[in-house]
Amino acid sequence: MSSKPRIVITGLGLTAPNGNSLSEFRANLLAGKARIAVIDVRHMGKHPAGVCDFDTTKWQKRKELRIGTRVGSISIFCSREALGDSGLDWDKVDKSRVGVYLGITEHGNVETENEIHNISQFGNDTKYWTHHHNPRTVANNPAGEVTMNMGITGPHYTIGAACAAGNAGLIQAAQMLQLGEVDVAFAGGVSESIHTFGIFAGFKNQGALGAHEDPTKASRPFDKNRNGIVISEGGAIYVLERLDDALARGARIIAEIAGWCINSDATDAVLPNPERQTECVHMALKRAGMKPQDIHIVSTHATATALGDIQECTALRNVFTDCPDTKINNTKSFIGHCMGAAGALELAGNLPSFEDNWVHPTINIDELDPECALPGLVINHPIKVARVDTILNNSFGMLGINSALIVKKYGVA
């Protein structure tokens, strides 16, 4: 990608079940602190879930909150925090040259379920169906709410990419910056999934909904006794710019986007295909001009399903043979599966490694599944390494969408 403009990250805002800022999130990842609640899911009773507790009125009026969606609120919080982190002089930014590209796993289920429940209280008479349903459920809703809140007049849309969406949002933004479509991009992934019973019911009936008497131990990727996904909400949105623009304004550069790939399994709706995942990672490495040995951290997608974790480990074994300096971790063990936000949050939690050289672990491994025993897996405790210059962020999703995003510390060759 050397002939194209280089793209860098200059700001970041997030909300995760265990942190509403990068510093809080990172501290909990290094301290091994998971935060999973037990919530009452409509029609289904109590289940573990990752719940965010950011201040919803920090950047929105109460009327905005009433009219908008939960994921819109998450998006606005993360975007505003990212803007503050970027140091951009917002009054001087040409808002028509700003784009918003947010990855989503799904959107609209929450509002539709709510309205079906609402009219059920009125004999299913549709005259009680809210007129807010359509603006709340159009697929661009989260990104559109950001533009209205921040006065952004450039392009906005969401990227539907199942659980690969966080990476897909960042990749879309990088591509639009390279094309010159925008000068500043707010990009990443968001999810409000815990507010829809349908996703819980779907995973439960698929035999893929995680459970444990201690909710903080319910999400346990790579553990032999893992039993499924813990559904979570969250968001992570980045400010991306072309390197030349960032340097011109003296921006702090958090990381550089080095390479990426999105491909498709074309085999099964839910069972991942390690062969295609392998190809995806290889292509991202090729585009980044790197070898497997150049990757210092692999942030895995593993969701704690019986087969999915093994499939990803198979792919990683295919790529990372003889890579003693490659460490492997997982964030879902702390916060569950934040769906559309997962990839973006999981990358965020690893970015401080460029500065502190710590690699956070994957936790909740009481008995490592032999089929998941990857050589570089960082288990239960963080480790300090000599250097971290590169991160490979894996995010995969249903219908066989695979994404691999490589970022590198700015200034390294």
């Binding site: 009026k61 109460r62 009327k63 009433r66 005259k127 009680y128 007129h131």
Partner: protein, 85 residues
């Protein structure tokens, strides 16, 4: 149910749909849109809440009757009375 009661019903609904607004100084004779930040979707919310909470139907042709608190009271009083309220 008096006209003042109905004005309070409408104000209570507005308090829910426009929670950032100061309703203590609303003038009953002045158009609501001229003194509060309300848009057409908000007025649809008022119509919906009258339907849900009070069983009152406001046909689209009559939406103009909801312009001010006074006009609301004049228009809605017979509808509340017809409900036996």
């Amino acid at each position: 149910m008096t006209k003042d009661d109905i004005k309070q019903v409408v104000l209570d609904i507005i308090a829910d749909i426009a929670p950032d607004e100061d309703l203590t100084t609303v003038k009953p004779e002045v158009r609501l849109r001229d003194q509060l930040s309300l848009d057409s979707m908000d007025f649809l919310d008022i119509v919906m809440e009258l339907r849900k909470k009070h069983g009152i139907e406001v046909p689209e042709a009559d939406y103009v009757q909801l312009a001010s608190l006074d006009s609301c009271a004049n228009y809605l009083l017979p509808k509340f009375e017809a409900k036996g309220k």
